[in-house]
């Protein structure tokens, strides 16, 4: 399964880029599994995902929890808590 992963704000800075297209292994089926898999994947994910506390996620532009399932071609975004307004 291939997903587009987007990074915003502090996480984008830590990653040094705003998006990746990633082929994920078959055991990765949810947001939580994707996050855990990326966080142990080596540079730059490992340091970036460890540095940014309480990361939030969205799938296909809706807020998502760890249990949210992924689909092929999904747009998955990771970002720190929002600070608009």
């Amino acid at each position: 399964m291939k997903v587009v992963v987007l990074y915003f704000a502090r996480l984008k800075d830590a990653m040094g880029r705003s998006r990746d297209e990633i082929e994920v292994p078959t055991q990765v089926t949810t947001v939580g599994e994707l996050r855990a898999w990326l966080a142990q994947r080596g540079a730059p994910w490992q340091a970036a995902f460890a540095e940014v506390r309480s990361l939030r996620a969205a799938v296909d532009q809706s807020m998502a929890g760890d249990a949210t399932r992924l689909r092929d071609g999904a747009e998955v975004a990771f970002f720190p808590p929002v600070t608009g307004g």
């Binding site: 987007l6 915003f8 704000a9 502090r10 800075d13 969205a58 532009q61 809706s62 807020m63 975004a77 970002f79 720190p80 808590p81 929002v82 600070t83 608009g84 307004g85």
Partner: protein, 155 residues
Amino acid sequence: MSVRVQREDFDAGQELTALRAANPRVGAVASFIGVARDLNENRAVLAMTLEHYPGMTERALEDIVRQACERWDIIDVLIIHRIGTILPLEQIVLVAVASAHRHDAFEACRYLIDYLKTDAPFWKKEQTNEGAQWVESRAGDEQARAAWERDRPRK
């Protein structure tokens, strides 16, 4: 119902007039304007940059408006949120609600800005004398949203 994400500043007076123009059912307009300060957590702020998630931001704001409409009797809503570089004294956000009576307008306006603060994907980065830093989210914002969750819908 209208939601705008834009770089340009806005004329709040003009926007509020337009929101109720030609609708004699509107008896109340409540509005909130968020403004950039020159001080945050005791650090002088020279400017801020607002980043957002194009596409999701608009959807998130439309969702929040939909939820408010289920809760109160609302005639119209306008949300304008700026992105890009914003200097102290400049406007950041406008939330305005038109309704028949003041209660719905006041409550819905407060609800909209409280939810915007926790659910709409915007991030502020402040330029200070010590360099640029991302703004930390505040526990108080989550608490304000949680208080609405505990309140029963009135409608």
